[in-house]
Symmetry: C4
Subunit: 282 residues, 4 copies
C-alpha cells in the first residue's frame, strides 16, 4: 500500500471522528472519499459508528457500491448515497451523510436553509430538498437501492448539499477537508438560523453575492488548515478518546495507527460485540 493511500486512509478515518466529535454524526452517518489513485473507486468504513472508525475499517468500493473483495464484515446499507454521487459528479471527492440535530427543524418543516453568517455560505444558496417518498412511496427511509441513490444525486445536481426530508443531509466536497468544513459550518449555520427564527421571522441572510464570495473561504487552504488543526486536536485530546488517528506519521508501520503508550490500550475497543464481523448488512 503506497504512502499516499495510507495517508488518505488516515485522513478519512480522522474525518469520521471529527464529524462525530463535533456533533454532526452519532452512531449513524458516514464520511467517504473517492479513491486517491482510482477515481472509479471510493473508500468507506465498514458498518460501525464513525467515532470508532480506524484506517483498517475502510472498505474499497466501485461506483456501483460493490466491495472490491469480500469485506467479511457488516457494511453500511446506505453506501449507494456515496457511489451514486461519485458517479454523477466527477468534481466531488468526498461525501458526508448525517442526521445532525441542527438540521432537523428545517427537515421537519421544509424550511429553506439560509446562510446567516459568512461561514454559513458553505451551504450555498437555497440547497435543494429531496423527499424519498415522492419517487418511491413508503419506504423505511434508508437510501439503499441504487435508484434511490441516483435519485438523490439528481436532486443534489450542481449543489454541494441536499436536504433529505424526514431523514438528514448529504454534503459533498472537493476534498475530505472541504467536505468536513462544509458539514460542520453548515450545521452551525442551521443551528443559528433555527434559533434566530425563534426571535423573529425576518431573517437577514447573506446576499447571493456575499454567499458566493464568502463561500470561497472554504476552498482556501488557510481556513481549512486552521479548522482541521483545531478539530484534530479536539479529537486527539478528548478525554478517554481513542487516541490520534492523525494524518501523516508515515514513519509508523503500515496499517497501524500510531498511539502513545498511554492510549494504546484505549485505542482498541474493549467491547467487541459478537457478530459485528459477521457480514450482516444495514
Amino acid at each position: 500500500m503506497a504512502n499516499m493511500l495510507l495517508e488518505a486512509r488516515r485522513e478519512l478515518a480522522l474525518a469520521n471522528r471529527i464529524v462525530a466529535n463535533e456533533g454532526i454524526i452519532d452512531a449513524f452517518g458516514h464520511v467517504s472519499m473517492r479513491h486517491p489513485e482510482n477515481p472509479n473507486h471510493y473508500l468507506l468504513s465498514r458498518s460501525r459508528a464513525p467515532e470508532l472508525v480506524t484506517p483498517e475499517d475502510l472498505i474499497e468500493y466501485d461506483l456501483d457500491s460493490q466491495p472490491q473483495r469480500d469485506p467479511g464484515t457488516g457494511q453500511y446499507s446506505e453506501r449507494v448515497i456515496h457511489g451514486e454521487i461519485y458517479k454523477a459528479r466527477p468534481d466531488v471527492n468526498s461525501v458526508c451523510h448525517h442526521h445532525c440535530p441542527s438540521f432537523m427543524p428545517l427537515l421537519a418543516t421544509g424550511t429553506d436553509y439560509m446562510p446567516i453568517f459568512h461561514l454559513g455560505s458553505v451551504g450555498g444558496i437555497r440547497p435543494p430538498f429531496w423527499d424519498q417518498r415522492d419517487e418511491f412511496g413508503d419506504t423505511n427511509m434508508l437510501v439503499i437501492k441504487p435508484e434511490e441513490g441516483a435519485s438523490l444525486a439528481r436532486a443534489l445536481g450542481k449543489h454541494w448539499m441536499v436536504l433529505m426530508m424526514r431523514h438528514g443531509v448529504t454534503v459533498a466536497g472537493t476534498s475530505v477537508r472541504a467536505c468536513v468544513f462544509r458539514s460542520v459550518f453548515s450545521a452551525r449555520n442551521a443551528e443559528y438560523q433555527v434559533r434566530a427564527m425563534s426571535v423573529g421571522s425576518d431573517i437577514a441572510t447573506l446576499s447571493p453575492g456575499e454567499t458566493s464570495l464568502a463561500g470561497q473561504i472554504s476552498s482556501k487552504t488557510t481556513g481549512l488548515t486552521r479548522s482541521w488543526e483545531y478539530w484534530s486536536m479536539r479529537v486527539a485530546n478528548k478525554a478517554g478518546g481513542l487516541g490520534p488517528v492523525g494524518p501523516a506519521p508515515v514513519r509508523s508501520a503500515p496499517g497501524k495507527a500510531k498511539t502513545s503508550p498511554r492510549r494504546a490500550k484505549a485505542a482498541r475497543p474493549k467491547v467487541k460485540p459478537k457478530g459485528a464481523r459477521k457480514g450482516r448488512r444495514r
Copy 2:
C-alpha cells in the same frame, strides 16, 4: 450463577449506565430486564443513580415486585412500573422509565409525539398518554401502588412507549438493547420535534407506512449492534468514568466487574453515604 445470567446482569448494568450517559436519565429513572431464566421474575437495581449501577446492585423480583430475598438495602419505590408491565406483556423483556428533558415539553402540553425522522419511528404512531390523576386523584406523582402500575400498563396497551403527564416516559422492548435503542432515539426525536415546533406548526411526520417500515430497523441486529458498541465505548471512555461494565468477559470472577488497574479505584464509589444500605424505600 450461570454464565448466561452473569452476562445478562452485566448487560443490564451497562444499559443503566448508557441511558444515563446519553442524557435520558439522571439521578432518577431505571432500566430493568425480565429474568433470562425465569419469565416470572425480573432484575432491577437497588435504589441508586443508574450511572452508578453495577451487576451486584441488581435485585431479583417476582412480577408482584417483591424481592426474592431481603435485599438489605433501599429499593426503587416505582418498581411496580416494571412488574406490572412484565405481567401484562409477555413479549416485553426490558423496561426503561425516565424523565428525559427532551420529552418534558410534550408532557407539559399534552402534545402528541410525532416521528419526524426514520429513527424516531421507534416511538411508534401516536404513543398513548397516561395521567395518574385521572384514576388516582392527587398523589405524589410516583407510581408506587400495584394498581397504579397496572393502570399504566393498561395505558401502554400494545404500544412500546407511554407518555406520563407531568412526570416522564416508560419505554418497553423485546430485549435490553432494543429498549435502550428505543429510549435513546425516541428522546432524540422528541428533542427535534420540539425544536421544529419553534420554527413552524406544520410538522412533516413519517407516514404510518414509513413508521412501520422504519420501525423494523430497531429489531434488526446490525443497527442495535452498531449503536451498542458506540454507546458502550462512550461509557467506557468517559473521563473519570467507572470503567467498563461491559458484556461478556465471562472469564472474570463471578460477581466481579472487570476493570483495568487504572480504573480499579474509581470503580468503587468513594462516597458511600451513610444509610444507603439501610433498607429505606423511595
Copy 3:
C-alpha cells in the same frame, strides 16, 4: 475543631462544587449553611468561584454577616442574603444564591415558576418575585446592604425560593442537601417549563395537592441520598477535577482534604491570582 464541624465544612464545600458542576452556578453565586453548633452563626466561602471552594475557604459569620475574625481575604459582597434569611427563618439551615441560565427567561419576563413534573415541586406553588428596584431604586443590582438582604428575606416569607427580577434566584433548605436538591431540581423544572412554553401556552402544572405531596420527596432521606451520591460522584470523577472533597474521611488530618496521589497536585489551584487574599470586597 470537632469532627462534626469538620464534616459540616466538607459537606458545604462539596455542596458548592456540586451546584457548580450541575450548571446552577458559574463564577458567581454561593451556598452557605447555618453553623451546626451555633444557630446564630453561618458558614460561607471567601470570595472565589464555588467550583473551587475547599473547607479551608469557609468563613464563620454572625447573622449580621460580620466575620468572626479578620478573614484576611476577599469576601462575597452579597453575604447579607444569607445572614438576613437565617435571621428571619429559624427553620432554614442552608441558603443558595445563583444566576442559573434556566431561570433567566422567567426573571426577564416576570413569568411565574410552575412545577411541571413531580421533582419541580421543590420550588413550591408560585414562589414570589422580588425586585430590588421597587424599594431601592437604581442600584448595581447586588444585594449588599443589610436592609436589601432583609427586604429579600421578607419577600421570601414562608416560601423556599424567591425569584429576583433581572438578577437570579435565592433558595433555602432545612439542610445543605435539601437546599442543593431544591436548587438543582427547581432549575431543571424551570428549564423544562421554558421549553414547554415554546411549544404551547397551555402548560399543565402540578395541582396544589400534587405539589404538596410530591414536595415531600425532597424531605425524604432516600431521594436526597441517591441524588447526593450521584452528584458527588460526578464531581469526584470530573475530568481534571479538583478531587473529592467528600463528606467524612475523619481519619484524615484536620483541615486537609483527602486526595488521591494522582489528584494531589490538581487539588491546589495552579493559578493564584495576586491580591486574592488581600481583603478586598465584592
Copy 4:
C-alpha cells in the same frame, strides 16, 4: 524580553484559550492586546485556532497591522479590526472578535442587545450595529482592508461592543481580563435574552442607571479576579487540555510555557498540518 512582556504574552495566550473554552470562539475569532511597553503596537496570534495559542504564537504588529518582522507564518486576515480600534481608541487595551452562537439570533434579526441581568451590563446600553454591506457592498464578509476596520471602529464609537450584522461581534476592554470578562458575560446575557424572547416579548431590561452602576462591576478587581481564577482553572483542568499557559511563572525559561511532566507531551500539538507556517493569509 522583559518579564513584564513575558507575563503579558502568557496572559494573552491564556485569554485566547479561555474565550475558546467558554464557548465564545471556535476555530475562528481572536483576542489581542495593546503592547504593554509600546502603545503604538499590539500583540495577536499567528493564524491558528485560539484554543491552541501559545505565547510563542504571538506576533507584534504596528497600528497599521503590519508585522514588525517577517512572521514566517500565516496571519489572521482580519487583524485590521484590532489595529484600527487601537488607533481610534487610546483607552482600549484589548480587543476580542468572535462569532459566538449566543449572538447569532440578534445578528440575524437586527434585534437590540438588552442587558437582562446585572452581569449583562458589560455590554452597555444599546451597543451599535455595523453592516459591512452598507459601505462596501457585497464582500466575503471578512474585515480585511484598513478602511473596513476603520469603518468598524467608527461604528464602535465610544461603546465597548459592536454587533456586526451577518458576521459576529467585536468587544473592547481596558485590559485583557476586562475584555474577556465582557466577552463572556455579554454572550451569556445574549443567550438568556434570546431564550427569554421565546417566552414573551416584554423583556425587563436593566434601566440605564442600573446598567451604568452594574457595569462598574467589571472594572473592579475582585470580580475580574474571581472569574479569571475560575476560567483559568477550567482551562488548566480540561481533559486532555494543553496544560496551563498561566500567568506568571517567571522563573521558567523565557518563551517556554511551564507544563507539568504529564502534560508536557500534550502541550505540543501532535498534528502539525503541512503548510501551516507557509505565510499564507486568511
